[in-house]
Structure formats: C-alpha cells, structure tokens
Amino acid sequence: MAHVIDRRRNGGNESAVNRARFLRRYNEQIRRAVRDILADRSMKDVEQGGNVRVPRKDISEPVFRHGSGGDREIVSPGNRDFVKGDRIPRPQRGVGSDSKAGTGESEDDFVFALSRDEFLQIFFDDLELPRLERDVLLGSDEQKMVRAGYTTAGAPNNLAIVRTMCNALARRIALRTPLRRRLDMVAQELTRALEQNRPECEVTALLQRVALLQRRLQKVPFLDDFDLRYRNLITVPAPTARAVMFCLMDVSASMDESKKDLAKRFFTLLYLFLTRKYEHVELVFIRHTGDAEEVDEQAFFHDTRSGGTVVLSALQLMAAIMHARYSSGWNIYGAQASDGDVFGADGGKSRSFLAEQILPLTRYFAYLETADPSGSRVSPLWVEYQQVNAAPGSFAMRRVAQRGEVYPVFRELFRAHARLSTP
C-alpha cells in the first residue's frame, strides 16, 4: 500500500536560497550585464526588470573531459545506405568531437530574467545618500521591540523554557533535600526498630512517618506557577533617518528634448534609488522656467512646459520650502539639473544664494549639467558654480552629454562613502 502525499503546499520557495547564491557568486558578471542594459533602454523598462545575458564560459564548471583528437568509433542508429568501408569527408570540427553538441550546451550566453527588485538592487547596490545622519528621537514615531530580561508574567509564546526549567530544578532540589534527609533518618530508625523487635505500635508509627514523608516528597510539583519565566520585550523608539530630497529641474526653452531627456533620466534614477533604498525620504519636485513652482511627480516627469530661465527662482523656492517644512530634524539634499544657460546676473546671484542660503543647511547638493552632445562649451552657470567654496563632500557637479553617461555620473555622485568635491 502506497502513501500518497500532497507536497504542493510545502516550501514554495525552496530555490530562492540557491538562486540568491548564484546571483551573489556571479555578482560581477551580472552587474556588468545590467549596466550594459541601461545604456540602451528607457527607464520604464528598467523598472520592469528583465533579461540578463552572461557569457556561458564565465559560469561553467570545469570537469575532466575528452578533447578532440585520438581515435574513436561512434555507433548511431538509422543507417540507410552506408556499407562497410565507405569513406566520408571529415566535417570541419570532427564528428562528435564535442560530445555535448546537439544538447543545447553550445549556446554562448546564459540568459535569465531578473525580477524588478533584483534588477534595482544591482543598479543601486553600493550607492547611498552621502553624510546621512540618523536622528534619534527627533519626532520619530518608529518603535521597535527589544529584549529586556525576563518577567514572571507573559504570553505563552514568550515562555523562556530553559530559564523556567532552571527555576523548577532549583526549587525541587531546595524543597526535596530536607525531606529526603529526614526520610533517610526515619527509614534507618525503622530498620533498627525491626532488627531490635521493638513494639508493634512504635513500628507502625515509624511506617506512618515514612509514608507521610513520601507523600510530601511526591507533592513537590515538577513545575510550579512561580517557576515560570517569560522573555520580556519592550518597545524603544527606533533611530530613523529622515531626509528630504529637492529635485530642481530646468525646463526652459533652451533645454531641448534631448537635454530634458537627460535630466529626466537622471531624476528618474534618483527617484527610483531613493524610494527603493530609504523608506523615510520625502521628495520635493521643483521645476522652473522664468519662475519656479512646486509640482507633483506626475507633472515633474511628464508635463511639458517651457519658458525663460531664472535659476535663482528655483533656489529661492527651495529655501522657502526648507524653512517652512523642514526646518529641524531633517537631512536635506538637493539635486539640480540644468543646461546652465543663464543670463546676466542670474548666475552670480544663484551662486551666492546657493553658497550662503542653501549649502549651510544641506547635507549634499549635486548639480548636473546637461551639455550639448557636441559641446565642450562651458556654460555661465558652470563657471559660477565652480567658484562655490563648499565643505568637502557637500557639493558636487558633473556634466553629461550622452544618454549612456547618465548612469555612470549618477553612480559617481552617490557612490557610498565617496569623497566628492567640485572638480
């Protein structure tokens, strides 16, 4: 008689461990493949996750096997018109010199799908917000449970069995030892009494005492209420890092489609990175032409609008919002993207406003300039910003001209523990 067992519900994810190990083991190759993908894909696709291609030879496991050469005979089925002694020209690579040929092993690449999470994980694996400080207690409502010794009351699932058993054992020893000692004495006396043929009543009394003591010994319980100990858990406020990122984008007329695309790619990366890696990061989207306005995500990434350029307006709006909403207990970050085409005094004013009003309050400010694909021309804003004299690691500026450069520059700007400074 067979046992029939339904295993379909067990262990849905038995392969997860080994899969994770495979990804870790070939981290280098996979990362390279993932980064190659970004160069020619739109951000939307990146968010979907997707196929990764790793050269098969990089991940093969070697064994001793036969190479080509030497003598061998191969028996195959399906002869139609060969007879003994027929000669056949040798195919280029020798028939069957690779015994695996035909089983599909000859593919060059190992292709597999990464989930969205794995994809982004690899994307942002060693990036973080620079100089982030964890502010304890500052308005944080995060709580976490920590162990804090033992208590005598609690829920059964928190029962500390070892501790309880220690108590029970100690109690049993303490209560039983004197009883045992007396029992021994009485028992000895009883033996003597029997040997010396003492009177019946005396023996009966002793027997009764033995019985009484034995009863009392038995009554010492194995486990008593006051042996019970429970693991004590208390809640403490968890340190959290609160951060806000200001995204400042220039959407003026001089930003043509390709430049806007570069800027949007950059901010999309930033957005994905922050929402994925940090739970408590707020995002403020500011776009500006001649004047600045705060917009929501949807408008920021998808609205088309254009006009003149006043960078200062955006910086001023950022400062205003900072003071109004994020005045204390926040890590403040800023990222600005622009083509740097400013007129007249705007550049100089923006520089001094940034240096005096904003940088002292922010942890890190990054400026991304979307340059012309051809361009080695230095923009007025770039020239101004180069003169910003900020604390090391708190201000960085980079230029991108090609789609493919966005991701490397982004990595550079947010590399973990990197020392950043103005070039």
């Binding site: 379909r8 392969s15 899969r19 495979f22 001793f64 060969f82 597999f112």
Partner: protein, 496 residues
C-alpha cells in the same frame, strides 16, 4: 469489473486505486519492490527537484541555483518539457508526480516509476552494492546540516571554495571495483574518536628521549606512494591531503558519497529506463486486458508511450543520441521474444536463453548487468537490424571518416562490441588516477591520465580542474598523460 476512472482529472483516491490495481498486476508478474511513497508536487517544485539532481534534500550551493534558473527559463519559454516524474532510490521508494499530469499520465508514471524503477533499484547489483536505499535520505539530511553548519562557522565563501573544487572532481570520486563502506556518518565519527583516544593513551614523551638509530628511511629505500594507482581522487584527497582541515575533509567526503550514490544510475541508464518502460507497457496493457481502463485511457497511454520510445535516425530532426528509453525498451522486448518465440538465428546467438521462461531470464538480466555488459550479452542481430546501427570510425591518422561496420552478418559482433564500449565509463569520463604522492619530498601530487584510443583531455578545462585540485591539495599538483605507447608526458603543473 468496471473502469477505475473515466476522465482526465485525477484525485488522490484515484491515484490510490491505480496504485493498488497496478500493484496487483506487478505482483502477478513477480516484481519485487520497495514500498512506495507517492508525492504530488507542482511544476515549480519539479524544477527545484531537477536542480537538485533529483535529490529531495540538498545542501545549498550556487550551482543548483544556476541549474534552476536554466531549467526554469527553458521551461517557461517552452524549449523543454518537464519530466512527468522523478523517482528516488530510497526505501520507501519516493516518486514525485507532477500535479499537471492527466489521470492517464499519473497511472503511466506510477507503473513506470513506482514499479519499474522501484524494482530495478531493489534488484540490480550495482544499486545493491553501491547505494543504500535505507540510509540515503538520512545521509542527505546530515550533509545539508553539516554544510550549513560549516557555513556558519567558517563562512560561505570558504565552504563554497571547497565544494566548487570537489564538484570539479566529483566524477572521480567513485571506487569502481571496491565495495564501498556502508553509509554512516555516525560510525565514521566513532571510528575517528576511537583512534584519537588510542593515540592519546599510547603517547609517551619518553620515547623521544631514547637515543635512536636515526631516520629509518633513507632516500634509497623510500617506496612510492601510493603503491598502486588510486582512481578515487576524492577519496585520496580526503585521506591524504596534507593541508585540509577536518571539516574540509568531511565536505570532500560528502561530495564523494553523493557522487557514489549516483554512480549506478549513470551506468544503468539504458537498462533502468528500458526496464521501467517495459514494465509500464506490460502493466498498463494488463489493466486494459482486465477491463480496468477504457479505450480513451489506452489511446492517450499509447501516444505517450510511443513518444517516449521514439528513436530518430542520425540524420533526422530531433536526433540527440541513442534514446535510452527506446533502446532499453526494445532490448527487453527483444529478450522476451527470444525466450518466448526464438528464430533459428536467436538459437545460434543465444542458445542458453532461447526458449526459456522469459520472466526468469529478464529478472536475471535486470539483476546482474549494467548497460555495458547488458549490451555485450544480449544485443541481438535482429535489434541491430531494427535500429539500423552503423559505426563510424574517427581516427586521427586518417584524413577521412570511414564506416567501420554496419548491421550485416560480418558486422554484428564488431558493432556490438563497439556499442558496448560506447557505454563504458572510459568513453565519457577520462581515466585519471593518482600515481604519486611525494610524502617525504615536496608533497606534490601526480595524476596520470590513462588515454584510451589516444584521446587527450580538453586542455583548458583540465587546467581549471587542476587549479581546483591544487587548492584542495595545498601543494603542487601535476597531470601526466600516458598513451598507447606507454610514454609518459607531463601535461600540466599547478603550484599549490
């Protein structure tokens, strides 16, 4: 009698009824089996089982992740269908059935795996001698715990390095001729403890102070070690590696023991599948004869069965190699025919079995042979004609390939011999053995590849393997090759 089932849907009661009905037929044919344990799994779980080379419990390692991803990808895209079942050589015999199968398929699989493979596992001499059905699951659980324990203690990277190296050599972890020790981690450890205690008891520091006669071995009298070449590379490393820590030795042992568990499967693929196919064919037909299954069931069964035993010719689409199901099934059918209804040719070729009781003869064949010897003993001229076998010779000295022999009167014996060789281990696993360990010198290890037919190793891959070996050994390792002329060349050297 009425039909057991009518539709394509299966349920647990039906599976049990079929198992009982097929079990009755099997008993009538005298099949001796382990008790069955049938487990229903999903396709995802089947993929997991695939990745773990069919073992129900495995230690964690990236290579299984890779296999899983590869199979999953192939399966999702429809390049590859999943097997209908996986069966494990254990006692009780565990068979995994996929929940996507129809009732007919489940019945076929029960007949194939739970009675065909099962009786083969229980009866065949290789399985009896090289594996222990009672102990394997426990051993796998032990292995998994041990590997995970090591990871905790020494780090994943350390463990992975050892396992990677062992996997590269796992095909060389089998004693082909010695009966291996019974699988018991407990006994092994008990032995080691006893030895340690003995050493402690007999340690006497005084002996060190007694004026001795100097070193007893001089260069001249030093004997080669090992005295005989050792083909079990992993065993040799486990026992003699100068540098491995005890836990690393145990890991080597685990890989070796698991490789050994698979050894019989590799060498009886054709027989095992042939036997199981032969029996599912007979058992299901008997169900039909007893009017327990209906015509629709039978048609679906026959369609699957003929798919399984299809053998495309070498020049046809879908030709992989010789299909073990097709050839195994054909050979057992042919054996039955020779016994029951021999032709004069059969009487000439197989005088000792022609006309005997087919059940006894098949049972004898199943118990006492492996693929290589089975073909050597029982491949009949009729079957060679049916399969239209021919042999192509690929010789290095010749500029062209030539047809060595075909299925005709002059070629039968030669063809059978060549086919037999094709299933010999040396054909696909190069014969590499330990020939020298400089115990008293630089501790280097020398392997020798005994070439068959002058076939060399794939050199780039061999170099990678040697690097793994050097890492396990800790000192210089060398690879020599010796061909038909007996001349020994050093092929590779890898510093430890």
């Amino acid at each position: 009698m009425s039909f057991i089932s009518a539709g394509a849907e299966w349920d647990f009661d039906l599976i049990e009824s079929y198992e009982r009905a097929i079990g009755k037929c099997a008993a009538a044919y005298g099949l001796d089996t382990y008790p069955n344990q049938i487990e229903i799994i999903s396709s995802e779980q089947m993929l997991v089982a695939y990745a773990g080379v069919g073992l129900p419990v495995g230690y964690p390692h990236w290579t299984y992740g890779k296999e899983f991803i590869r199979n999953e990808q192939a399966y999702r895209k429809g390049y590859q269908a999943l097997a209908y079942e996986i069966v494990i050589n254990s006692n009780p015999c565990v068979a995994y059935l996929m929940d996507e199968n129809t009732m007919t398929m489940q019945a076929l699989v029960i007949a194939h795996a739970c009675f065909g493979h099962n009786s083969f596992f229980k009866g065949n001499y290789l399985f009896q001698q090289w594996t222990e059905a009672d102990a394997i699951i426990d051993y796998l659980v032990f292995a998994r715990r041990y590997v995970m324990g090591c990871e905790e203690q020494y780090g994943q990277a350390e463990v992975e390095a050892v396992l990677d190296a062992c996997h590269a050599l796992s095909r060389h972890g089998v004693d082909r001729f010695k009966r291996p020790q019974p699988l018991s981690a407990k006994n092994q450890r008990a032995r080691e403890d006893a030895r340690r205690v003995h050493e402690q008891h007999h340690f006497d520091d005084l002996w060190r102070t007694v004026p001795g006669r100097g070193p007893t071995t001089s260069i001249g009298t030093r004997r080669d070690f090992p005295a005989e070449p050792e083909e079990n590379l992993l065993y040799f490393i486990e026992k003699h590696s100068p540098k491995l820590a005890p836990w690393q030795r145990e890991l080597v042992r685990i890989v070796r023991k698991i490789a050994q568990y698979f050894y019989p499967q590799v060498h009886t693929k054709l027989m095992n599948e042939g036997w199981a196919t032969f029996w599912h064919y007979h058992l299901i037909n008997r169900l039909y004869d007893e009017r327990l299954v209906n015509d629709a069931f039978m048609l679906e069964f026959l369609q699957s069965h003929t798919n399984v035993v299809r053998q495309p010719g070498f020049d046809q689409r879908g030709f992989g190699n010789i299909n073990p199901y097709a050839m195994g099934f054909a050979m057992f059918q042919d054996l039955k025919r020779i016994c029951a209804d021999p032709t004069p040719e059969d009487r000439r070729w197989f005088p000792e079995i022609a006309g005997t009781d087919w059940r006894k003869t098949l049972d004898f064949a199943m118990r006492n042979f492996k693929d290589e010897s089975f073909i050597g003993q029982f491949l009949s001229p009729k079957l060679m004609r049916d399969f239209r076998f021919f042999a192509i010779a690929d010789h290095e000295a010749e500029t062209e390939l030539f047809v060595d022999s075909i299925h005709d009167e002059s070629g039968y014996r030669r063809l059978r011999k060549l086919l037999c060789q094709q299933y010999a281990r040396e054909t696909y696993v190069p014969d590499v053995q330990v020939v020298r360990y400089e115990r008293d010198g630089d501790r280097s290890l020398t392997l020798r590849h005994f070439q068959h037919g002058g076939r060399p190793l794939e050199i780039n891959e061999a170099e990678e393997v040697m690097k793994h070996l050097a890492q396990l050994w800790g000192f210089t390792v060398r690879l020599e090759a010796v061909g038909a002329t007996g001349k020994v060349n050093t092929v590779l050297e890898c510093a430890g």
